[in-house]
């Protein structure tokens, strides 16, 4: 067994946040019973929506593919339980920037009959990376750390670059969230087996499994599992408990001491990062034929009666999960899907659990932000920014809508971690402002590109019209010339002919 190592790069800024994870890790992961109805959005991933391949009224089995991809950036969807499709319609969902999304609604029959899982089991070792990735794509697997980028496509993009390291992200640095922690405690072997599959797909021979130092139990379980597997290519790495060390680029920096360039990807420094949950999901799909139909999610916060981690099928409503966890307490004030720092506050619990939902938080009003005051330019935000941006300066430019300066000051690299919000003594919602400003920059860039295209088309049209006019003029000129040249002769010919006729 290889001992956990500490030779790490350094992260700028960041925060030591109170973990608040003990409440939800006291119990084992609880399995939620299948509810009577499942609401499955077709957009549970980054990219285009999946296309339904079942009709209304059709019976489906657990694990059956119900929506497919058609080659674009997308991921297929599988039925989490058996039952009947009763609707394909728009439904409010907890997407980060969103309105109601098209969903497949399944009325469960309670029997939980599964398709023949053994049919999709493959032995990955003789497969080429491309074949293996195609198989991973069919499993509907997406990044379970919260970004939900389709895993197969991320890997396909990655293998076009030279790679050295696979990094498994078991850091989970946001307060309250403990689903990856519990996964590593209870299914360490799945995670590590998944890493072996990923290493085969990526053709790399070094894998760092990064775990935050506040998870000693997960670490010991992972070490145990590692000693059983006994593969020297897998190395456990402890990373310090600093938020946001679990950010993809931040983790690369911590583990390999390489900085991902501005606007770049970890593949630019020969690394690929995968969440531990994704790794386990890949193992279950490849080795057991189980597609991604459920996940572990943390339900916690001071507004919930019994914080815990639950394993629930996708499509279960948040209300059902809250009820399972003992319901709301009197102090419950706001409902957040995702983490405290990066999650989204929602106004209804009638939204489904999706692939991205790593946590459900119910917080009391103690956590509500204070009144916004003017910026005093104290620079606290710059001290904690993990990307080494100057949030106070960016805030200035965002208020002035100064696109050029926002670009120059690297707004586009902001990972929206929320550290600056938390330390701001004036309670300025910096991250929200930056998110808006980013949207505005994108809009302006689109507008500019459009104007540029219109200008080019207008000019080429004018050139064309000019050329056509020139051609017409030339044609006319040459016809005139021809008439001038042959005209008198032709008239003479006609006169001659008529004279001859008269004589006859």
């Amino acid at each position: 067994m290889s001992a956990p190592t500490f030779d790490l790069g350094k992260l700028h800024g960041g925060l030591r946040l109170e973990g608040r994870k003990a409440a939800s890790t006291a119990l084992e992961v609880q399995v939620l019973p299948v509810p009577s109805q499942l609401i499955l959005p077709l957009t549970q991933h980054v990219g285009d929506q999946a296309n339904p391949i079942v009709g209304i009224g059709e019976k489906v089995l657990k694990g059956q593919m119900i929506a497919k991809t058609d080659g674009s950036l997308s991921a297929p969807l599988h039925a989490p339980s058996s039952g009947q499709v009763v609707a394909i319609e728009r439904w409010p969902v907890s997407r980060r920037y969103g309105e109601p999304a098209p969903c497949i609604v399944i009325e469960c029959d309670g029997e939980d009959n599964a398709v023949d899982l053994s049919a999709s089991i493959v032995d990955y070792k003789p497969l080429s990376p491309d074949e293996l990735l195609a198989q991973i794509l069919r499993g509907g697997i997406v990044g379970l750390g919260g970004a939900v980028f389709p895993t197969a496509q991320k890997l396909m993009q990655a293998i076009t670059a030279p790679l050295e390291y696979l990094i498994l992200n078991g850091v989970e640095c946001e307060p309250y969230i403990s689903c990856d922690d519990m996964l590593m405690r209870e299914h360490a072997d799945d995670v590590l087996q998944g890493a072996l599959i990923l290493m085969h797909a990526l053709q790399v021979d070094k894998c760092y499994v990064a775990i935050e130092s506040d998870k000693p139990e997960a670490l010991s379980k992972m070490s145990e599992a590692l000693s059983v597997i006994d593969d020297a290519r897998l190395v456990l790495k402890l990373v310090p408990t600093i938020y946001p060390s679990g950010g993809e680029d931040q983790l690369v920096q911590l583990v390999t001491n390489r900085e991902v360039p501005s606007g770049g990807l970890p593949t630019d420094v020969a690394c690929v990062v995968q969440n531990v949950g994704t790794s386990a999901a890949i193992y279950r799909w490849i080795n057991h034929g189980k597609p991604l139909i459920s996940r572990i999610t943390t339900i916690s916060g001071d507004g919930i009666a019994q914080p815990m981690n639950v394993s629930a099928p996708f499509g279960t409503t948040i209300a059902d999960i809250v009820k399972f966890a003992g319901g709301y307490t009197d102090r419950a004030d706001q409902l957040i899907i995702g983490g405290q720092m990066t999650g989204k506050s929602v106004t209804t619990d009638d939204v489904p659990l999706v692939k991205a939902t790593n946590s459900i938080l119910v917080l009391s009003e103690l956590h509500a932000p204070g009144e916004e005051l003017p910026c005093i330019r104290c620079g606290e935000c710059a001290a904690v920014c993990p990307i080494q941006l100057q949030p106070q300066q960016l805030f200035w430019y965002a208020c002035a809508d100064n696109e050029k300066q926002l670009r120059e000051h690297g707004l586009i690299d902001c990972i929206e971690c929320g550290c600056c919000d938390l330390v701001c003594p004036s309670h300025i919602p910096l991250t929200a402002d930056f998110r808006t400003a980013k949207g505005r920059i994108r809009e302006l860039a689109d507008e500019k590109a459009r104007a540029e295209r219109a200008r080019a088309r207008f000019e080429s049209r004018n050139e064309r019209l000019e050329m056509e006019k020139q051609n017409r003029d030339d044609e006319l000129q040459s016809q005139k010339q021809a008439v001038k040249k042959t005209g008198p002769q032709a008239i003479q010919d006609i006169l001659d002919r008529t004279n001859k006729d008269k004589e006859d």
């Binding site: 459009r450 104007a451 540029e452 295209r453 219109a454 200008r455 088309r457 207008f458 000019e459 080429s460 049209r461 004018n462």
Partner: protein
Amino acid sequence: MFSTVLIAVSIITGIALVAGLLLGYADRQLPANSDSLVASVNDLLPQTQCAQCGYPGCKPYAKAIIESDEAINLCPPGGQETVDKLATLLGRESLKLLEENSMPMNQSVAVIEENLCIGCTHCRDACPVDAIVGAHQMMHTIIAAECTGCELCIAPCPVDCISMVSAA
């Protein structure tokens, strides 16, 4: 001593004279570089090519601003923002946007109701950015991604089958 000063003064005077003559010649003989100025004005215009300014497109308007001192407040799609930017660029006084007989265009695109189209090609020829596809006596259609929303195709249509819809 005196001669040294004289030599120095005459050399400097000579250089100044030659340089002055050269510059004077260049000023008279070489054309002013108004092209780059037209291009930078054109860059600020929204490129809808809608002709609401009275010129047949953004570039001709830009040319008129530079060459014939046309007013800078004739572009409704650009809005007051564009007028202000032009004023800053050209060092002119910012004017209020002139909005008689013109409507602002808010990200709309033209759509041809295709079952009514008779294939007369009038709209196609009116489109300043070649965003309408169609041949004589064939149905026409608009390439939505290229349409600037200038509305120049609406008036020529003999059967009124073109309407504007929101681009979003």
